[in-house]
Assembly symmetry: C2
């Protein structure tokens, strides 16, 4: 057996910021070296950020990533970190250009490199390319066919990338035969509810299959609709959890592992072997330092406590907002505050994400606003110390009404659009990012106004159903109370019956069923993709099933125009659900 001190750098790169991401690699490698680690691993596509989408097809971008990789290796050596073994994800391309029709331009690779001594000492690329849900990797990458096995500290470490762990066959399936002492997986694996459970179970199973310990390092941070939750972890060869990083924050997970020393006579490399998925994989061996280099003392094992489901979602939303604001160069946000629960939650998330001093809210009362709307909103502002401003909209609405005769929904929409003009104007004037306050139940049913309440730059709760909105508010208040602080969200806001307040005495329940009923049906129709018959068989009211299917299917255009927002479920209304606008299909 041999000892290895391993560091997993759960960091937050930014798409396209090659120099900034390289800085992160140097900085966190220094921290790992200071912690005595012999090997430090960074996430998938670390140097470019992830996902880069069509940037992968741009020659200048691929070449810039390649240059950044070489420069990072040199920079590490120049900083005295050349003896550190570093594994890093980047964008590469197949060196011999085998141009084939249907293959992405330039044959890009979702690549992995081992850096050592100022040089790139081993290279491979992702074998299994995910092409479902939010992923389009057949569009962007060609497949890798190598498994690097690198001897470091006397241990043979095999490295693969993300989806290679999720699918059967491929490089993971040859790891056992390659006699690896550790399987290291670098990831850009986005958050969705309860994914941590699935991830641990998978890692344990693959460790047992590979017959060795498994280390999993994941990215953290928000990128458009995706939130990466970190959750880096290490399991033993028997699947036992050995170490786990806290989620939704940057972290260096350092762990001492006792592993089988390198096999004395490994099979000679460079022979392609059957990989169980109709392809072959070539094991490529590299020796960095044949001697063992045991750390003087052993670190205590570190396993971050699990988060409950609601707390986990809240953390994902906060991180999504913080990174969308920061990575797009904004410093402050603005949103309308109606006195209702949705905008209250959005403002609270924003305050937690970037500080209340950077959150600007606008109260936009109309003739249909109730008295409590204004007072409840003012109470929330006071409790959290937000920047506030009141802009009554009656005069503006009446200016339109003098020229146009608008009735019914058109008149309701007018008010919502006038409000949007106000916050978009303030955004343009003062440079705030507009946060949009619609929830998933509204988005699903089309219960929103195009270019009205749905206007803005980022929708923090667009993937959060109304029932979850209430749960998040309650949990946020509970957390405050547990910490001895006053609850940030006034209870009145949570308790009142929901209303758009666009016509006299209006309530959501005039147009929609109770949210408990609606949300359960939406979960089954949208997330679980059940058809009409299956929904009725699952116990939903047949009349309601037909009505909700029709509402959801007809709201596709509105959803397309909606800003992005953090994805927290398997099916949100973003890139993972792609439907034509012109579409006459109705569930039979």
């Amino acid at each position: 057996m041999a000892q290895l001190r391993l560091a997993l750098a759960q960091v937050n790169p930014t798409v396209g910021d090659l120099d900034g991401n390289a800085d992160l690699v140097v900085e966190w490698t220094r921290r790992a070296a200071e912690a005595g680690a012999q090997l430090v691993a960074f996430p998938e596509m670390m140097l470019t950020g992830y996902p880069v989408e069509d940037l992968a097809l741009r020659k200048s971008f691929v070449e810039a990533s390649q240059r950044t990789l070489l420069r990072t290796a040199r920079r590490l050596a120049e900083a005295g970190l050349g003896e550190q073994a570093v594994v890093v994800g980047h964008l590469d391309r197949r060196p011999v250009s085998l141009v084939r029709p249907g293959q992405p331009a330039g044959a890009p690779l979702n690549a992995l490199a081992w850096l050592h001594g100022g040089e790139v000492v081993a290279r491979s690329a992702k074998h299994h390319l995910p092409n479902y849900g939010v992923f389009d990797e057949f569009r962007y990458f060609v497949r890798g066919d190598r498994l690097p096995v690198v001897r470091v500290g006397g241990i043979d470490v095999a490295t693969v990338i993300c989806e290679d762990l999720w699918q059967d066959g491929g490089p993971v399936s040859v790891t056992r035969a390659a006699h690896a002492g550790l399987l290291l997986v670098i990831n850009g694996s986005p958050y969705e509810r309860s994914k941590d459970d699935v991830r641990l179970e998978l890692a344990a199973r693959r460790a047992r299959e590979a017959g060795c310990a498994l280390a999993y390092v994941n990215m953290v941070g928000g990128q458009d609709e995706l939130v990466f939750d970190g959750d880096s972890l290490i399991v033993g060869a028997d699947g036992t959890l050995l170490a786990r990083a806290p989620r939704f924050e940057e972290h260096l997970l350092v762990c001492d592992l006792t592993l089988p020393g390198a096999h004395p006579s490994p099979q000679s490399a460079a022979q392609p072997v059957e990989a169980g998925d109709g392809t072959t994989i070539t094991v490529e061996r590299t020796v960095l330092s044949p001697r063992q280099d045991p750390p003087s003392e052993t670190l205590p094992p570190q396993i971050a406590p699990a988060l409950d489901d609601v707390t986990e979602v809240y953390a994902a939303l906060v991180l999504g907002v913080r990174d969308y604001v920061r990575k797009n160069g904004f410093r402050s946000v603005i949103c309308g505050l109606s006195g209702g629960v949705d905008s209250a939650l959005v403002a609270t998330i924003a305050a937690d994400a970037i500080g209340p001093e950077n959150v600007h809210v606008v109260l936009l009362p109309s003739r249909h606003s109730s008295d409590h709307s204004l007072t409840d909103a003012e109470e929330l502002v006071a409790r959290q110390g937000l920047n506030t401003r009141t802009v009554p909209i009656n005069d503006m609405v009446e200016a339109f009404e003098r020229e146009l005769t608008l009735t019914g929904l058109a008149a309701e929409n007018l008010q919502a659009r006038v409000r949007a003009v106000v916050w978009m104007g303030l955004s343009n004037e003062d440079g705030h990012l507009v946060l949009t306050t619609g929830n998933k139940s509204e988005l699903a049913t089309g219960y929103s106004t195009l270019y009205g309440d749905s206007a803005g730059g980022y929708g923090p709760i667009k993937d959060v159903t109304k029932t979850m909105v209430w749960a998040l508010c309650r949990r946020r208040n509970e957390r405050a109370e547990a910490a001895g602080e006053p609850p940030p969200i006034p209870q009145e806001i949570i308790d009142k019956p929901p209303s758009a307040e666009l016509s006299p005495g209006q309530l959501d329940t005039d147009s929609l069923p109770e949210y408990e009923v609606l949300d359960a049906l939406l979960d089954d129709y949208v997330e679980r993709d059940l058809g009409r018959d299956a929904l009725i068989a699952a116990g939903h009211d047949p009349g309601l099933v037909e009505r909700v299917i029709r509402l959801v299917d007809r709201a596709e255009y509105k959803r397309r125009q909606y800003p992005p927002g953090p994805k927290i479920t398997q099916k949100n209304f973003g890139r993972d659900r792609r439907l034509p606008i012109t579409n006459r299909w109705q569930e039979p």
Copy 2:
């Protein structure tokens, strides 16, 4: 040699309208039978419409398509058309469920069926799945591996689907060895400029490779951003053009072909053969009617005249608008009319698409509008007989200005957004679809207002550069004059210098270079995807290159919020150009 009267049904299906599409098959098969055709072919995915996107992953939709196929075969027989050989595209799934990770749910197939005698007599599926540009077929389909060769009228007819023709290897590569007398290709091939030239050249080349005549039937009509141009055609075994349908309209192309009779001893079927692309293809033979059935007299060959480049684009835009309006259940449109050339062109296209009586325009003068804007717009309205209404926006703008201090761009945007509130209100009240009037040069550089001039349901000229806008106006007027009609677009509108008229004396050239210079650069950066160095090497001004790259890259969010519009170039700003919003990359 044998005679075959072939009919290519260049028709316009609607996505999701299974019954309506089946009606088209029955109706056009009847027409083909009346014209004496022995074989009639319909486009790719005829029964479902194309592209169906994530509907392909919905079990209930796949099953509905399968039922529709069987019902269509029966309906044809019941209508006395059972003896007609019919080739039709539909959505199917692989019968034995080989569930593999990464494979689309339910293993859907982009399928082809031969119908005869009330039954499905042969089946196959697309082999080459396009997964670039606007296509995502690895997400939706699994690959087919058969080449049906069906003997009809004594001739062996091989059938493939669309991309199978474009890529090397696969079923087309085994057609020669299968001794086919005709290669029939069913297509859903979207329009882009000059694609007709590429298509004819490709068909001629593949006919020579296959050693037999080739018939190509394409869909026609608009579907969201795609416009299918038809252009169905037939070439001889030597590549000579024999027949060609007019583009951008439904058409039954009937042609008498003299073809080699069926090979007396074809190789026995059902043996997979190497297909030149690392896969195998199984040739499956079916005999429908071994006797020849020559038509009594021969039809004159029909070759529709080619369209010049500008006329072709105009026709694509008209068809795109007509079908987006009609297929989404609208009957009328509304748009702002500024007196400028963009909105003049959009209104004219709309009048050509759905009739001037269904086009509503709003004149929305502000304090910055010039006198000629109003008079030029009124002149256009009068010439075309559009419905018109004038809504001065000063009072509404001032109502906002009394509450908010907005300066510079924020003040300019306010006016644009007030206008959008007006036309969105009229749209909601009267049920018109809003047409958005921005052009590609604006969209590229971000020279538009989010939720202002960019608000609406469909953007007819979003893929048309400003220089092409002028060319289209001129050509439209020339066509009118050639027909002895008054030109629909006042010359003053075409001649005046472009201005957004959002501040005093404003001209586009205050913020942007001359459009001739800008559009040439945009073509090279956006459509040809050249990097910074390549743009400078191509002769563009270095300072302008840097400025325009920055403008284009920063306008990504605005473009995401833009309505769909007909795609006429290889790279528009729709599904074929997918970039992250959060993106720090700058061309070095």
